[in-house]
Symmetry: C2
Subunit: 449 residues, 2 copies
Amino acid sequence: MGLVTPRTLSGFKDRLPKEALAKTYLLNKLSAVFMNFGFVPIETPHLEYADVLVKQGSDEIQKELYRFKDHGGRDVALRFDLTVPLARFVSQYKNEVDLPFKRFAIGNVFRGERAQRGRYREFTQCDFDFIGSDSISCDAEILQVIYASFVGLGIDEFTIWLNHRSILNGICEHCGVLGQKEINIALRIIDKLDKIGKENVGAELQRDLSLSSTQVDNLLEYTSIKQQGDSQSFFQEVSFMAEWNDSLKKGLDDLKALYEVLAPLQMDRDTYRVNFSIARGLGYYTGIVYESTLNALKSIGSVCSGGRYDNLTHTFSKTKMSGVGASIGIDRLLAALEELEILHKKATSARALIVCMDKTYFGYAHTLAESFRRSKVPIEVYPEISKLKKQFSYAHTKGHEFVIVIGENEFSTKTLTLKNMTSGMQIDNISFLKALTLIQEEEEEEMKI
Amino acid sequence: MGLVTPRTLSGFKDRLPKEALAKTYLLNKLSAVFMNFGFVPIETPHLEYADVLVKQGSDEIQKELYRFKDHGGRDVALRFDLTVPLARFVSQYKNEVDLPFKRFAIGNVFRGERAQRGRYREFTQCDFDFIGSDSISCDAEILQVIYASFVGLGIDEFTIWLNHRSILNGICEHCGVLGQKEINIALRIIDKLDKIGKENVGAELQRDLSLSSTQVDNLLEYTSIKQQGDSQSFFQEVSFMAEWNDSLKKGLDDLKALYEVLAPLQMDRDTYRVNFSIARGLGYYTGIVYESTLNALKSIGSVCSGGRYDNLTHTFSKTKMSGVGASIGIDRLLAALEELEILHKKATSARALIVCMDKTYFGYAHTLAESFRRSKVPIEVYPEISKLKKQFSYAHTKGHEFVIVIGENEFSTKTLTLKNMTSGMQIDNISFLKALTLIQEEEEEEMKI
């Protein structure tokens, strides 16, 4: 019988323990933040009827869909995001789900796009949405969740950039870019401002929309406006734009209302700022939109984006369902946290490893381990009797902070020998309680996401 | 444009918040137990090359495979369990993964079997394995993890039934059932002892293996042996069987060695007992095997099963890789916990809901919410201004324990009105700190998995 070569599909990825542990800590932390705000999980299948998924998807996504016939000849596909299943879910259970409805979902989605560095065909999405209310209180809460997520992950320096689709529409209107199609083209180009710079954006605007150079200059000038100082001065500075048209007035009023709700909170004012260039999700978002960047790693782009939409369920129902939500790019965030060195960097979840010099000590070793676990110290017992050197090397590779050795003397006196793997210090024949104190004192200072 | 009917595929399932929350708490608890023992998560894709999956699968599983051609014409399939991907993983990363290797995996798997009540085509598996060591210390640790999982979930009354494949082989041999094929047929029938009873098992043994009635009686007698009292008496009682053949001697010796490691631990002795009828995973398990039942719900069968195997990676490598592991049936366990009434039964993760009588109070409401969250009280702000009756009904349906009302008086005096949704008691115009104390005092007694 021939052997099968163990391999993964191109564009698909395994996660080894170190990376999978970091991801587990990250997702646990995020879920805890969401649940603290009363967001609840829901679960939908990975596989759906293809027509449930494709109607709402863009043409590009249709091409990337993993679509096939199942055993019953049904036309099925793997989900490509968590938003379409959410729309299907709230339409299907409209009688069971009390509005307003706050849900989060963390799950894998599939897109058969051309494989390229850093892009995977199966990847994890993390979405949270507040559905069924137009209140600014929801927008304010989504922003608080983003804020609490970053702070919870140990990220101090970040910026949530805010804008409003009506502001963009109003600027376009004022500059003579009329018609939704033209506006969308303009916004898609302006969205690249941070990536390709003013000059290239200007050239593209001129080329694709045949605008005059004055029009282009105006568009660039107004969409380049960013809040620098406090919000009150900012809204005063741009108040003249509210006079231009209803769109601009509406957008600025909404942002001001948002800032009023946020004002008394203990959120660092510097972390959220208005930026008229943020466009996001053409044709989907209709109100306040946002992107978030890490100040120390601006180049990686937005790690959390979202906004308000007014018709989530249009594929499934004639009743409009509005909401506001955001999505955290888990893979991008993990990469960023690794670069910022605030990631759990070990291949084990245990702080200590117990090694035995003889197999008759296993019972004692497991009793010790049991006591450590009751005192909230994750610990494991090395299951083989082998050379100490090999066992220490195992602990070193996996990242245990301590090794506990049980030899003849330790076994007979019901003590243990404790070695601190960082300092190299070893203390012989101490009691369990003494060891526990030493281990607890060394409780890792470094962030454990 | 026609509307799409929102629906799921037959055999696939959505989870509404109440159920999804309970599942989230359950999986968080289990992960914490696994990590406490130094088991680390790994992640493999949902989609694999079909030949990676099918070679190891049984014929039945091949028929149930969701298999199709991807965009590049590759023959791909959705995973049907987490064991084959594990075997692929440890073969592929044999140089990166330090042995012994302890991993857990919680993930969805897919089987296109005929849809029937309580069986789904996509379901969640939860596996933990200790690979690359034959030491009895590993078997002991897997049992401790099962024990800690049940205790952690608030289940007091459970039994882990232990057996050894060599004991079953030895009994068959002694009764004159020879040849692995015959033994496997016999074991498959004996495995149904608890379900269909002695009489039916006897009839099937006679029919399928043409055994004499003495042979059948002997087989039934020996496989019906269960440990009733303490282990020492038990092993003494069955010691005569060790004389029959090497298989029986080996099986009993291994179980005795396991009990020696477990003896000094603070595990309730009644929770693990030898049972010679447990067969499990024919052709896969080769050593100690186990099943776990809930004493109050024996009828639902085993909620956690596993055992020792000697050749995990035979599809991928000529090098044998042994290990021991177990699998928790998440859906079955959730159903059991619901029946035992030890499940989180609410549609919200928040303990309290803040409602405002006017939208100018939202800033104050969110400030209060922020303070409660800092004091570890999950809380949410109702985003609309509506009738109190509607808001109380929302809190009642979702399961909030408290409603906090902010009216004109509360807003101007920076106080709040607190209503206990269980007792109905309402206290007007109290301070944040007073409310916090009252909420903390009422910290739910009921188990929150």
